[in-house]
Symmetry: C2
């Protein structure tokens, strides 16, 4: 158990010098850094040779990098609700985006990571994007900055400044361990707010700026990219419009990377680094059609970097299949906080935090309900190392595109380009989906060839469907009721 | 203006005897009685010769009966949110049912009838079914009984007892005028609660009991009906299962009628009747497929009976087209409480409260979004005296059936009956709907023949669509954004 190991390390580092051997081991601090729409496609330590992310790469070099970490839904509020509750959105009630006119909230009476940690003696703070509700379910003792969904002037766009504002919390003379929830707005697409209050992401034909602005941000050195050199991932079209947007996206990632660097520097300066678990992840994949709001890998296979105190295998790589539903159980286990396992849909992977193999971690489940209130497209998925099965529960509609994706020059140009193809898929296939999709990820990692009706794959389909239905029953999926005769 | 007239009456009745001529006129009391799933099909005063509703008939005889009153959405929580805010559900945020696992709420910061009345000096109380949220948007000073959605043991099933529990509020020695929100659970279908907490309405082949129980309810004389004599409305199948269910429904209506009678008796005993406006209405039509959750007339053309103090035309009939979005503006106007008209989607029909003709009240709008969280089926409608146009915004799916309707023996037997017809429509037509439906209500009052593609009706279609889009823009319909290129 990592927890016990860490406690031993903590004893060695902190307690023995003070000869306070009999005192109870202090609980570790927790810092959870959540990026907004950051895929694994744009990280040096995940293999991108162009983008500069030295601070995130350093975090991976000091800790463990996860190769098979998955969000359960590629939508901001629902994904964060899963991260913080250990329950799928279909169980905690956060079916879609929180801000008006969408208005989704978790069910009153629900419990989450900050509340559970506070009850165990932690001081808790959040800074930056929140985007879940109600406060009673997600209570933080201190709100260092509220952030605001879709607010171009949000502090969440200024990650170095965010870190600076969190410094007093990190350095506070308080004997309690702390939990800091640090949620940047980068690298989300940028928007303006129209006179009637609605957001607009419309910049066509110019690329969306992804929060980049001429005057820059305090403490950030703008890192600019040449559209000619960016890496176009297979799910995107290699067009000038897409390359221009990827360059902007990279710049936003390099900005957030500097915020992570500043936060780590402040943690070190506070003297707390050696007793602090730092987690970096993203709510969902990049904000392009084909990733965000889908259950395809670009939407849900996400960066996860964990640097644990006393890490015995710095720079290790973890290939267990873990999901955001596992995060709250894992952090609670690491903190030594008990919680009934039945309250979670996920489970703790604390035993693999420092890179030790995790036998049996070979499948993850996804559950997407809505994104915007107008975007009802419930999907359920199971993914193994070799296959993915997606159940589209309302396949009669075209797959709905979020405002930021619909207005993206990348999508608009693909629509107008006349090829009828987007990335590896015909646009028609992307928009019009059957009730079941089945992909052989070994031969078709880009999920382009649906094998659901292939006789040769009937057994796989049957097996995965059975697992998925078991998962749905266990996690109390309300959509199951629509399938009873 | 009714308000001025009522103030004159109030002066004559209450103030002159006390010689307090210079005192400000007292504001009227308001009692809003809301039934649950009660259609116009089951009321004596609306022409049903079988059902016994003497107290509601007496209310109509003392006041005004509305022949063209419309809910804007045939779903409980959304409809009540419209009643209480004067805004369509797509504007106030209550897109679907409030209770878990659905979890819809109105937007924080919204204002509603009880809050506005309290700010104007009213004391306010609610009793029975609430089913809207949050409390901050729908604040009542006193909660005489919370009621509970889908709770078979709710007080809302015992309307005479409910009236008795409201008596102290009516008779309180308090100089302030009052607003009582009296929301019965009758004649909703009855359910049991399964061990896992989910409701079940499954009684097939026996009829759903509609809350009727062998031991009866305090103060209620059970009025039983012979299935052979009930009136089967045209939208329902004339089958033994349906007749048996209608008999149960009638019994529940006769029960609620006795609650209304008891409430009126207590109002009279309190000495408040002559200064109290009493409104009776239903949130939506009867709980059978073809009515509830649809925008067809059986779902939204509803009872509305208003008995105003000093009514000059007892027993009058009002044929203005009014909707539940008009109710809050109307009651506020009657109470003399100002509110900016721009905050409402509806408008006051106070000038027609005692039956005077209302020129220009010739169209109503409907807006349905969801019911259960799994039942996304956004529809918008405009209805005039001669036509109805329904815009189905997600027509690719089969029309979803609510649990209580899907489990009804009436529906199950129609499915199994093999005729393929339900009421006046083929089942396939009922379940599978085009993007636009257009009905000529003069020749086809049962909305069976869709004329949307009829060249002879192109002008009507164009005109109604234009009106509907104007309404949607004015009422800030979020779904409009999905239609922008």
């Amino acid at each position: 158990m990592m927890t016990k190991r860490w406690r031993r390390v903590a004893l060695a580092v902190f307690l023995l010098p003070a000869l306070a051997i009999a005192a109870p081991a202090p609980r570790p601090n927790l810092v959870l850094i959540v990026a907004d729409d950051h895929g694994t496609d744009a990280l040096g330590c995940y293999g991108n040779p162009v983008i500069r992310t030295p601070h995130l790469d350093a975090l991976a070099a000091a800790g463990t990098r996860y190769t098979h970490a998955f969000g359960t839904t590629a939508s901001c509020s629902p994904s964060r609700s899963v991260l913080l509750t250990g329950q799928h959105n279909h169980r905690n009630g956060m079916y879609g985006l929180q801000h008006p006119p969408h208005g989704f909230q978790s069910f009153a009476g629900g419990r989450s990571l900050p509340g559970r940690l506070a009850a165990a003696g932690y001081r808790t703070a959040r800074i930056g994007k929140f985007h879940v509700a109600p406060e009673s379910v997600y209570p933080f003792e201190a709100v260092l900055s509220g952030g605001a969904a879709n607010d171009p002037a949000s502090l969440g766009r200024s990650p170095v400044e965010m870190a600076d504002q969190a410094a007093p919390f990190l350095a506070a003379k308080d004997p309690r361990p702390f939990f800091l929830y640090f949620a940047v707005d980068d690298p989300h697409r940028g928007n303006v707010v129209l006179p009637d209050g609605r957001p607009s992401f419309d910049t066509y034909p110019a690329p969306n700026p992804f929060g980049n602005r001429p005057e820059g941000y305090p403490g950030v050195t703008a890192v600019r990219y040449d559209p000619a050199t960016v890496i176009v991932p297979p799910f995107l079209p290699d067009t000038p419009e897409c390359r221009a947007e990827l360059a902007e996206y990279y710049q936003a990632v390099s900005r957030l990377d500097q915020g992570v660097g500043r936060l780590m520097e402040l943690l070190r300066a506070s003297g707390q680094l050696e007793r602090t678990l730092v987690v970096y992840l993203s709510d969902n994949g990049v904000a392009f059609p084909g990733a965000k709001t889908t259950l395809y890998d670009p939407g849900v296979r996400l960066p996860l970097i964990v640097a644990a105190p006393g890490h015995r295998r710095p720079g290790s790589v973890q290939d267990a299949l873990v999901s955001w539903a596992d995060l709250t159980p894992t952090l609670l286990a690491f903190a030594g906080v008990d919680a009934p396992a039945g309250e979670f849909d996920g489970r703790s992977f604390v035993a693999g935090l420092d890179g030790l193999p995790l036998p049996g971690w070979d499948e993850v489940y996804g559950s997407h309900s809505l994104h915007e209130i107008t975007m009802y497209y419930p999907m359920r998925s199971v993914r193994t190392r070799t296959h993915k099965l997606i159940l589209n529960l309302a396949p009669g509609q075209d797959f709905p595109l979020a405002l930021d994706l619909r207005q993206s020059p990348t999508w608009i140009s693909a629509q107008r380009g006349g090829t009828g193809v987007y990335g590896r898929r015909p646009i028609a296939q992307f928009l019009r989906r059957p009730g079941i999709e089945l992909y052989d990820l070994t031969r078709d990692p880009h999920e382009a060839e649906n094998l659901a009706e292939s006789p040769a794959h009937a057994a796989v389909r049957r097996d995965l469907l059975a697992r998925l239905q078991t998962f749905r029953a266990r996690s109390r999926d309300p959509w199951l009721a629509t399938e009873t005769p």
